[in-house]
């Protein structure tokens, strides 16, 4: 237990060290999540438009 506590306290500078690393972690994770969500949104929107478009076309015609 003590080694873990020592590690977390970072010699008394825990606030500075973990604020820096924590914000970096949060930002990178948030960027990945927002990328996945925006990709899903784009594919849903554009895919729906694409299907509408092909349904309106008689088969065999381009």
């Amino acid at each position: 237990m003590q080694p873990l506590l020592d590690f977390l306290s970072q010699g008394g500078y825990a606030f500075y060290v973990w604020s820096a690393f924590g914000m970096t972690f949060l930002l990178l994770v948030a960027e990945v999540i927002s990328l996945r969500r925006s990709r899903r949104t784009i594919l849903r929107r554009v895919g729906r438009l694409a299907r509408l478009h092909t349904q309106n076309q008689p088969p065999g015609e381009q």
């Binding site: 500075y16 604020s19 990178l28 927002s34 990709r39 594919l43 849903r44 438009l49 694409a50």
Partner: protein
């Protein structure tokens, strides 16, 4: 052997290539970052420097310096693709520039934020209007300005060219940041960004720092290519190949468009928040 580089300048050709690269770069980035964290926290000394050493808080170096490097390199990439786009008028170049910008802004913010939390214990202040800090802040505003300008112009071709011009003009900030060290004699001032060279750094610290830099680079590739794919689909949505790609399975080939069969969730009138075209 002659390679036709312009073949890959077509969004239709590059879209699947980017799709294969994203997971490769993403996994490699994660592995390198974890390795760098392990090395930085467990294989390095607790003190840095001689008579008046930096204590444990110096470990912020393992994200601060790589993020600051990335913020400048990614701006170089952004301006480079903008210039290529202006010269050759290739759509994909502008899309690349747009795909890089948010990641660059993220790393610029990380550099500023981690710098503040390093500056407080070592310089006694979170922020100071020192030349390097100020010019890095301006770089952050340049990224924001690039994205804001691009999204403010409806015609995407005009938006491309206007934002590209801004990016190229903003290049002037890079040498300013690089040479903005205001402490020529380290004996006279506490240490607002002392002149340093990589050769003087303890090798374990250097290893962790360079590993993290490589991890950040690969992360940037992964996110930029992922964003690029979204931009390509949005901006080429009237082209035949996008229609054929999405009409078949609604993008299910990517493994994330699973709800595409449920049309109720999609509202074409809704502005695509968080999506940059």
């Amino acid at each position: 052997m002659k390679i036709n580089w312009f073949k890959y300048a077509s969004p239709a050709t590059f879209y699947p290539v980017a799709g294969r690269l994203v997971p490769i770069f993403g996994i490699a980035a994660l592995a390198l970052m974890l390795l760098a964290l392990y090395w930085g926290f467990f294989e390095t000394p607790e003190r840095l420097g001689g008579s008046n050493p930096q204590k444990e808080y110096y470990r912020i170096i393992f994200i601060h310096v790589p993020a600051a490097w990335l913020s400048m390199w990614l701006y170089l990439v952004l301006a480079g693709w903008s210039a290529v786009g202006l010269v050759f008028n290739t759509r994909l170049s502008f899309m690349m520039a747009n795909a890089v910008a948010p990641t660059g802004a993220v790393f610029t913010f990380i550099a500023l934020w981690t710098g503040a939390f390093w500056g407080r214990p070592s310089w006694g202040t979170y922020w100071d209007w020192d030349p390097r800090l100020t010019s890095e802040l301006i770089l952050f505003f340049l990224y924001i300005g690039f994205m804001a300008l691009h999204s403010a112009i409806d015609d995407s071709r005009r938006a491309d060219r206007a934002a590209a011009l801004l990016a190229i003009v903003g290049l002037v900030m890079l040498p300013i940041i690089f040479w903005s060290i205001n402490c020529p004699d380290p004996n006279n001032c506490a240490a607002l960004h002392q002149r340093s060279s990589l050769g003087n750094i303890e090798s374990n610290i250097l290893t962790a720092m360079l590993t993290m830099t490589l991890g950040f680079w690969l992360y940037s590739f992964a996110t930029a290519f992922a964003r690029l794919r979204g931009i390509i689909v949005l901006r080429e949505q009237d082209s035949v190949w996008v229609r054929e790609l999405l009409a078949v399975d609604g993008g299910a080939e990517t493994g994330v468009g699973g709800t595409s069969g449920d049309g109720r969730q999609a509202d074409p009138r809704q502005p695509n928040r968080g999506v940059r075209a």
